[in-house]
């Protein structure tokens, strides 16, 4: 694989992560528990979709051949998507969505901070914008952890159930395969292992305040997203996302 192809593959990974979670968050639009939260979820989604657009546009620029961001978002099927599995899980109840979001936000703050030191200027520029947004996201989702965990017995129970279900999907965020190892050593990519402990500390601190706990994480965790081995959920997500482009290929708005 040429250097350019490797860079495209890495950038598309990041775009896929952002697009899939952006799409999941958008499912709360008009379904939020109250208006301010509906707005918050929709606006957070917009931040992620904006990032996906930046990443895909960069990948399109690197690919040449007249490709655009839309080609990446709308014309690829499940097996070609390389996002981590945690992003594609259905939104579940409110607690589930926010535990997932909290895990992601705590990760993103550290991830984009690290990306600001990338040897690739374009990625640094994207990181400079993303980090500011992720800090707001983390503040918001941490607050929900506390409110739900330290709330009623029902909210506490739902929060703990959500945590128990989601824990096995966390490990994949910190996985480093051979491909990523190579991208890390040339300075382009972020090494998530370097901040895994900090992520853990953040989660532990907030969970303690929320009076919930993270179950023991064993050796095994859910994986496969990076290779295109996805859950069934991604198929449903893409069929909604890509419906127009598949029903009317080449359509122009």
């Amino acid at each position: 694989m040429s250097d350019n192809d490797q860079l495209i593959k890495y950038v598309v990974r990041l775009g896929d992560d952002a697009l899939v979670i952006g799409q999941r968050l958008l499912e709360w639009c008009s379904n939020g528990p109250f208006l301010e939260e509906d707005l918050a979820l929709s606006n957070t989604s917009l931040d992620f979709i904006g990032r996906a657009r930046f990443f895909y546009s960069y990948a399109a620029e690197l690919s040449g051949q007249g490709k655009t961001e839309d080609d990446f978002a709308y014309t690829r099927d499940c097996r070609d998507f390389s996002n981590c599995l945690i992003y594609e899980l259905p939104r579940g109840d409110f607690a589930f969505s926010y535990v997932r979001q909290f895990f992601i936000d705590a990760f993103d703050v550290l991830f984009f901070e690290a990306m600001q030191s990338s040897s690739n200027e374009h990625l640094v520029a994207i990181a400079d914008k993303a980090i500011k947004e992720s800090r707001y996201h983390l503040r918001h989702s941490s607050e929900w952890m506390r409110r739900l965990g330290d709330g009623t017995s029902e909210s506490h129970q739902r929060l703990q159930s959500a945590i128990n279900s989601l824990t096995e999907f966390v490990g994949e965020l910190f996985e480093v395969d051979d491909f990523l190892e190579a991208m890390i050593s040339d300075g382009t990519a972020v090494d998530p292992r370097l901040f895994q402990a900090q992520w853990q500390a953040t989660v532990n601190t907030v969970f303690e305040q929320a009076t919930v706990s993270l179950p023991e994480q064993g050796e095994w965790h859910q994986t496969g997203g990076r290779e295109g081995n996805h859950t069934e959920h991604l198929g449903h997500l893409l069929s909604e996302l890509q419906f127009m482009q598949r029903a009317y290929p080449g359509l122009q708005w």
């Binding site: 301010e36 939260e37 707005l39 918050a40 606006n43 957070t44 989604s45 917009l46 931040d47 992620f48 979709i49 904006g50 990032r51 657009r53 930046f54 705590a106 703050v109 550290l110 690290a114 030191s117 990338s118 200027e121 374009h122 640094v124 520029a125 994207i126 400079d128 914008k129 993303a130 500011k132 947004e133 800090r135 707001y136 983390l138 503040r139 918001h140 941490s142 890390i184 300075g187 972020v190 090494d191 292992r193 370097l194 901040f195 895994q196 402990a197 900090q198 992520w199 853990q200 500390a201 953040t202 532990n204 601190t205 907030v206």
Partner: protein, 201 residues
């Protein structure tokens, strides 16, 4: 990568600081004249460049779709104008990643310039340096306040905006996210009106 290695050699986690979730605390800046960052200083200097002045004037007609009182110049979205032969290049930068107004702004710039007779127009979107509210001029902030939106308060950990309606300081946060992702929703406890606050970032 200049990241801190926070795991010990055998990969057991060592005690680390959790991520700080509050924005940076305020520094004492009363009475201090703030320096503009270099890129912003250059931008403001270029406004008075006699050759590009008519173009900047024209582009003052392109307003922020969400805040019609302010132009893309006022908002710091319009970064640079270059004229090479008959090729006109306009450089803009997005405010936050997902700002949906950017596509509309792009179109409006094109329309405005074409209506004035320019034909060879290129609009570039520049990501770096990252847009920041500190690029908004004092005048722009005042006009924003007058149009009903509290302007961003730079370098404070907890914003205390003045009510745009009655100017009271007794305001409280309702939600971090307001009508758009760049704004938060506040309420005045004095006149009881809700209002948007443009978040500083």
């Amino acid at each position: 990568m200049a990241s801190k290695d926070v795991t010990s050699k055998d990969m057991t986690p060592i005690a680390v600081e959790p991520v700080i979730v509050e924005p940076a605390a305020a520094k004492e800046t009363e009475g201090v004249i703030k320096l503009l960052d270099h890129d912003e200083w250059l931008r403001r200097q270029s406004y008075s460049d006699s050759l590009l002045s008519p173009i900047f004037q024209l582009l003052e007609n392109v307003k922020d779709p969400e805040i019609p009182a302010l132009s893309i110049w006022d908002m710091g979205i319009l970064r640079r104008v270059e004229s090479r032969g008959d090729q006109l290049t306009v450089v803009i930068t997005p405010t936050y990643s997902g700002c949906p107004a950017m596509d509309l702004i792009l179109e409006q710039i094109d329309t405005e310039l074409r209506q004035a007779g320019y034909q060879n127009i290129k609009v570039d979107v520049q990501l770096s340096p990252a847009w920041t509210t500190s690029w908004m001029s004092e005048d722009a902030r005042q006009r924003m306040q007058q149009s009903g939106i509290a302007p961003p308060q730079e370098s404070v950990s907890k914003a205390q905006p003045l009510c745009p309606v009655c100017e009271s300081k007794e305001t409280e946060l309702i939600s971090e996210y307001g009508s758009t992702a760049c704004k938060a929703l506040y309420r005045c406890t004095s006149c009881l009106e809700p209002f948007d606050y443009f978040k500083a970032f």
